[in-house]
């Protein structure tokens, strides 16, 4: 049923480009992708990847209307299935009203994307990237819907620092984040025997600042976020006190080459209570990556990255407390709307992306993977 629904949804998307033009100020855009994952060992991201899996489908459609010079409203709905995550449900990716007072100050309210790190707010839009999978150390695909957006408001703007000092872009937000009922965290909690009629949620606030330096192509930025979580179910509860996480990042674009690097620190101390028993888990997650890409021709991009994750609160010599991923990637754009990607992963450690439910026989410490994706966007 879910596959059929997804297929219908995607076929619907493909039929839309004819009307993907402006209808006055109304704009309609969308994307759809189909992925494939094959791993030499272990099942990754809840997909049966050790046998080769096509259970990786994604699609979204956005409608934007400019009501006046300063006011824009819009909404994006989204549907995805990745192994046991996601499903036939249509979720609201973002839906907001945007009042642009001037270039230095604007406001957005509704369900808004969270600016955390370089890629967070766009990590679900596959067509923007060379990479089939973004570095999982900082952008874990299995939990992206929780990380992506919140219900609340933000202020944003940009200020020039003069011709010799570049400019800064800034965003600050506050609201409430809710775990994705079909996402990785809820699946993990279910694995411990905790289910929730309403997904756990909590207060969230933070900000992001980017300096577009006077050196053309060089941008540096920093983000910070405070996140809390509470939820109660028939078996018990989960509580996470406000956790402060931060990220630093930089991008340098030179001609056809692009270099990006990020460092994240995410300390989390959730407490899971089941009946009379309370389990406290400590995570002091450190993650970083460095990536380089080159546009060989207008249609062909090649690149590589190294992504590194470890949980400093645990024994970092154990595979479950680290993940090191060497990646080589290629993307070919058949035209402005269709593209294909292929990527090789050489993964060491099992700290990210693996679930007991899809790996009942345990995990091998290392695995190689082939990931591929074809996509359509308009």
């Amino acid at each position: 049923m879910s596959r059929r629904t997804l297929l219908t949804f995607l076929l619907g998307l493909c039929a839309i480009p004819v009307m993907a033009q402006d209808l006055g100020n109304l704009q309609i855009h969308g994307f759809a992708t189909q992925g494939f994952l094959f791993s030499s060992a272990n099942n990754y991201l809840t997909m049966p990847s050790s046998r080769g899996s096509l259970l990786w489908t994604d699609g979204g459609i956005s409608v934007i209307d400019s009501l006046s010079d300063n006011l824009r409203v819009g909404m994006q709905i989204h549907m995805y299935q990745m192994g046991e995550i996601g499903g036939p449900n249509i979720a609201v990716d973002w839906a907001s009203g945007d009042y642009h007072l001037n270039d230095q100050l604007g406001f957005r309210a509704g369900k808004i994307k969270i600016p955390m790190g370089f890629y967070n707010d766009s990590q679900d839009v596959d067509s923007l990237f060379l990479w089939t999978l973004l570095p999982q150390s900082t952008y874990p695909t299995d939990n992206r819907d929780y990380d992506l957006s919140l219900l609340g408001g933000e202020v944003y703007g940009e200020r020039s620092l003069g011709t010799r000092r570049g400019s800064v872009q800034y965003r600050g937000y506050v609201g409430e984040s809710t775990l994705d009922a079909h996402g990785g965290y809820v699946l993990q909690l279910a694995g411990y025997g905790a289910t929730f009629p309403n997904p756990p949620a909590g207060k969230d606030f933070g900000g992001d600042i980017r300096w577009l330096t006077p050196w053309r192509g060089l941008m540096v930025g920093a983000s910070a976020q405070s996140q809390a979580l509470d939820g109660t179910g028939p078996q018990g509860s989960v509580h996470m006190p406000p956790s402060f996480m931060y990220a630093y990042y930089a991008e340098w674009r030179k001609g056809k080459a692009d270099f990006v690097g990020e460092y994240w620190r995410t300390p989390l101390y959730p407490v899971l209570t089941l009946g009379a028993d309370a389990f406290s888990a400590g995570f002091d997650q450190r993650a970083w990556y460095g990536m380089a890409s080159y546009r060989v021709t207008p249609n062909l991009q090649l690149g590589a990255y190294y992504s590194h994750y470890f949980n400093k609160a645990g024994d970092t010599s154990l595979p479950e407390n680290y993940s090191k991923d060497w990646v080589v990637s290629g993307r070919y754009d058949f035209n402005q709307n269709f593209y294909g990607k292929v990527e090789g992963h050489f993964l060491h450690g099992t700290g990210l992306g693996y679930y007991a439910s899809t790996n009942p026989n345990g995990l091998q410490p290392n695995a190689n993977m082939l990931a591929a994706r074809v996509g359509f966007t308009f």
Binding site: D22, H29, S62, I64, D98, L128, R216, P298
Partner: protein, 144 residues
């Protein structure tokens, strides 16, 4: 060097000069609605307007950037004035659209259609390879 060698060297030099002249000639005119008070625009402002960072011209007029859908004039404009390839530029705007931070500028299949829109729309700013009717729109001088 033999006579044939000299002739070849001159041909190479002449070819380089011709290529250079042709490349220099490949620029675009920046056009705006006649209601725009400013007569020039800086390279930085032009780039910020077409990348969605700036929404107003220096005279306070709301800027409405418009694009050609593709072709050599579009590519020259992006390369010389924005510093993007068409692919990078498209990705930049798709990111704004799909994250709820912007809406795509209007695109036109021909320069004539673009000029008609610029002529009729307050604050509209675009680019063309040449201009037959200089009274319909305003040509902005791009300053460094």
């Amino acid at each position: 060097m033999s006579a044939t060698g000299k002739a070849r060297a001159w041909m190479v030099v002449a070819g380089m000069v011709l290529t250079s002249v042709s490349a220099r000639a490949q620029d675009v005119l920046i056009v705006a609605n006649r209601g725009v008070a400013a007569s020039q625009i800086s390279e930085g402002q032009l780039r910020e307007i077409f990348t969605g960072v700036r929404s107003r011209l220096t005279d306070g007029t709301r800027a409405v950037p418009v694009l050609l859908k593709g072709g050599p004039v579009h590519e020259v404009f992006l390369h010389r004035r924005i510093g993007d390839s068409p692919e990078e530029f498209r990705t930049r705007w798709r990111k704004a659209v799909f994250t709820g931070q912007g809406s795509m500028p209007k695109e036109f299949r021909s320069e004539a259609e673009l000029l008609d829109y610029v002529e009729a729309t307050p604050g509209a700013i675009g680019y063309v390879s040449r201009l037959n009717d200089k009274n319909s729109v305003k040509v902005l001088i791009v300053s460094p």
